[in-house]
Symmetry: C2
Subunit: 465 residues, 2 copies
């Protein structure tokens, strides 16, 4: 007789933590750091707070001279928005719980990254974690907690309220088994590359040996925060339409179209409804199930909807992107191309491609740096859409770029939904619309390099004469 | 004020269905077919039933002449064990619910594949699915059901009990939006490759145009079903140890070690407990939290535990593997290497590598066919450990194999836990222990090819003299 059982989301990701990037001690150390830093940066940017982020890894007493893998303490402090007292335990003690389940560009999207760091800490050290947060600079609540993995629920061991003394933000302190020897170069690259795309952030990282890496802001200008946006008709499926109708407070189909979908005005709504054969004055809640399917099919097929505009997005922008490239890569020549907004499956996105030639990096050969929603992607390059485009769709000879030229190509995608292929956010799916913008962006920066190299070459010829 | 929300597992995979392989109509059609076929084959093999599997894709009335993507009906019938009446709705209507959450080699492992097919069907067609099953050949229960995606729970529209007339098994009937034009070659390859590793199965696939692909069994010998096994000390973390202790019915530490862990006898248990500094006669439930951490660290560090044996596994075996290669690839020369059992993180695995040269496939160049627990892996080859080993760690010149030789390398891994990197089961992580066995397996079959080519070459020289 077959026995069935069910498991909670935390149980699932406990058993399958490879899927979330916690596969071995060196990778898990990296993932814990990145998930926590990304939470801090999201929080600062959403409320337009100039980020002050401090991360320290240290050996646990008595562990310093042991061989890897071994216990580390991870301490991270930010000056972000903080988390309301009632939300702190579930924010870190429940998988699929968070504030980013909306159509808005943020680093976080799955509702589980912070919780995974806590889970991994607990299963490798059997210790509770300490989460402290203040939303008002007056009171800071400190929770010492575990996760009940079978129930996917926090298990609070103690709670304290203390004077925050003006500090607003979030502090995470936990122990975990890591392998810093193996992951240090990736963790260092993570901080360097994060600084490249967030030049308005002060980021301090202290490694277990006490060495401090400090990235000081070179601008006080923060980007416009991303905005929540309405769904676009092209991306929508039947389930989503049903829910939109279920939540509809009342009014005609025309009003429903205009208020529900992105960039649909009265004129387009009426033209669409006539195309779809749906009376404009009925209430959407009167539609039968068959009508809803007919409506959904029509939403996909109707080709006069305006494409998603990118105004809800917050790309790096030429100024910030260039500042980051110049500061981190100190190139002899650089170029940046910010593409026009585009969309895949109704989700708006903006591609930005940068190029850095020579200068501080005089390593011959091509390097690819990838970013998505300001997150550096440091793993699984070979599976990423940027790598595919760069290697299969770009003809370097055509730009007279020598094979061993010291060249870095930097790609960044901003989107309300980055199409990661894994919950570990390592690489991006090859959607044709994204491929096209990457290809054109790369061609554009290479064209600019070609002009520079051409000019440089003819100036050298002049000099020799 | 930040608003938090939580989402159910089905809501998570509805929003992020790319993660599960349901990213677009052509891919989703493939994924629906494979998830259902893998469920059927698991069911037959577990109860040692010679599989009879029938899968039919057909156009939905009136859709035939529409452009892709369009609606298809998927019908799949097997002669497996069937599913108990009370379990049918949750088996297909709840994510993270299943019978494969145990330490045993099966195709399924996540408890969500069948449910994803149902979910995708519902969100693209708004139609209920029909699941029929009989466990005794007398009564067949037919459920017409939807998934309440927000609740992660089945929503049963109707239930019928009918005379099964001797049929025992499971039948799934659903509609979904697919793109057969784009996915037909992958779906066809899936069936061909499945037949390669399951030569004891009768598999029939009827495509939407009525074309029938039939794979008749060429052997009645079924492999030994895999067995559930005990965890191995090396793979265990603190959380798992705590649970094992919590479930302990009573007895000494020695008895706990012997009954809980794979291949631990009294002698090793006593030696280990003395190494760990834990009294052999106390009950494990007396251990403090610190002791449990100390016990877990010792379980990892102690090096005299016997490695996992492969006896719980069910590899293809030389006979079946060879029969499949000969039948499907009709090579001029073939070789097979079945490696000794090994383990990664305490999980036993067996690598089998096959080689097929020339014959029916005289396409010049190297082809890689990958399998895991008898599942063909047809996507993301570039990210898979087999691809990495083949391309980075094998020196073909050393075996005198010409660059354009018509060569297929076939890899198969059997394990109690295949380290997939995605829930879509597309490719496998590069664990060093797995890499090593693949490398040695590939070298072995290439050595045999080298002997063959050498002999063939010298015979041709003889002939010309
Ligand atoms: N440093 C922080 N400052 C403010 N809020 C935070 C912080 N860290 C976590 N949170 C809150 O906790 C929630 C859960 O975080 P978690 O990392 O688990 O998920 P997420 O960031 O929403 O998504 P993802 O899994 O993609 O990271 C966040 O949505 C956010 O509201
Ligand atoms: N054809 C079938 N015959 C017998 N049992 C089945 C069949 N299809 C599904 N089941 C049962 O339903 C359960 C859920 O199936 P589902 O595919 O969702 O998950 P799984 O196979 O356990 O794991 P995975 O997500 O990796 O496929 C299975 O564990 C199995 O017990
Ligand atoms: Mg997060
Ligand atoms: Mg399954």
């Amino acid at each position: 007789k077959t026995t069935f059982s069910e498991i909670s989301p935390s149980e699932f990701f406990y058993r399958n933590r490879d899927l979330a990037g916690f596969s071995n001690p060196s990778r898990a150390l990296y993932s814990a750091v990145r998930e926590i830093v990304e939470n801090s940066l999201d929080s600062c940017e959403l409320y337009r707070i100039l980020p002050e982020i401090y991360v320290r890894l240290s050996y646990v007493d008595g562990e310093e001279d042991k061989p890897e893998p071994k216990k580390y303490e991870l301490l991270a402090v930010d000056n972000g928005s903080g988390i309301e007292r009632e939300q702190i335990p579930k924010a870190f003690g429940r998988i699929f719980y968070g504030s980013k389940y909306r159509l808005r560009q943020t680093r976080g999207m799955f509702g589980m990254g912070g919780t995974m760091a806590v889970l991994y800490s607990q299963i490798t050290t059997n210790r509770a974690v300490e989460i402290t947060s203040s939303v008002d600079g007056k009171t800071a609540y400190k929770f010492v907690m575990l996760i009940d993995i079978e129930k996917n629920y926090p298990s609070i061991l103690s709670e304290e309220a203390n004077d925050a003394k003006g500090w607003r933000g979030t502090k995470v302190k936990l122990q975990l088994v890591g392998d810093y020897f193996r992951s240090s170069s990736k963790i260092n690259d993570y901080f360097k590359n994060t600084a490249l795309v967030t030049p308005y952030a002060n980021i301090t990282f202290v490694d277990p040996n006490g060495k401090m890496m400090q990235f000081l802001r070179n601008t006080n200008t923060m980007p416009e925060p991303p905005k929540e946006t309405l769904p676009h008709p092209h991306g929508i499926d039947v389930e989503a339409v049903k829910r939109l109708i279920k939540n509809w407070k009342g009014g005609t189909m025309t009003k429903f179209m205009v208020q529900t979908f992105h960039r649909v005005g009265n004129k387009i709504a009426l033209d669409f409804l006539s195309y779809a054969g749906i009376p404009p004055n009925i209430d959407p809640r009167e539609l039968s199930n068959e009508d809803i399917v007919k409506l959904t099919d029509a939403l996909h097929a109707y080709d006069k909807f305006l494409p998603p505009d990118g105004r809800c997005l917050s790309p790096l922008g030429e100024e910030i992107f260039t500042a980051g490239i110049v500061k981190e890569l100190e190139p002899e020549f650089y170029a940046v191309e910010v593409r026009e907004p585009a969309a895949y499956s109704g989700y708006p996105f903006i591609i930005e491609v940068g190029l850095a030639y020579g200068g501080k990096n005089n390593q011959p050969g091509l390097r690819l740096l990838r970013f998505a929603n300001r997150i550096p992607l440091l793993y699984d390059e070979g599976s990423d859409v940027s790598f595919k485009v760069l290697n299969e769709e770009i003809d370097f000879k055509r730009y007279n770029v020598p094979q061993d030229a010291p060249l870095s190509i930097i790609t960044h995608i901003s989107s309300t939904k980055v199409p990661y292929k894994t919950v570990g956010k390592e690489y991006i799916a090859d959607r044709p619309e994204i491929e096209k913008e990457l290809r054109n962006g790369m061609r554009e920066v290479l064209r600019k390099l070609q002009v520079y190299l051409g000019r440089k070459g003819s100036m050298e010829k002049q000099r020799r004469k």
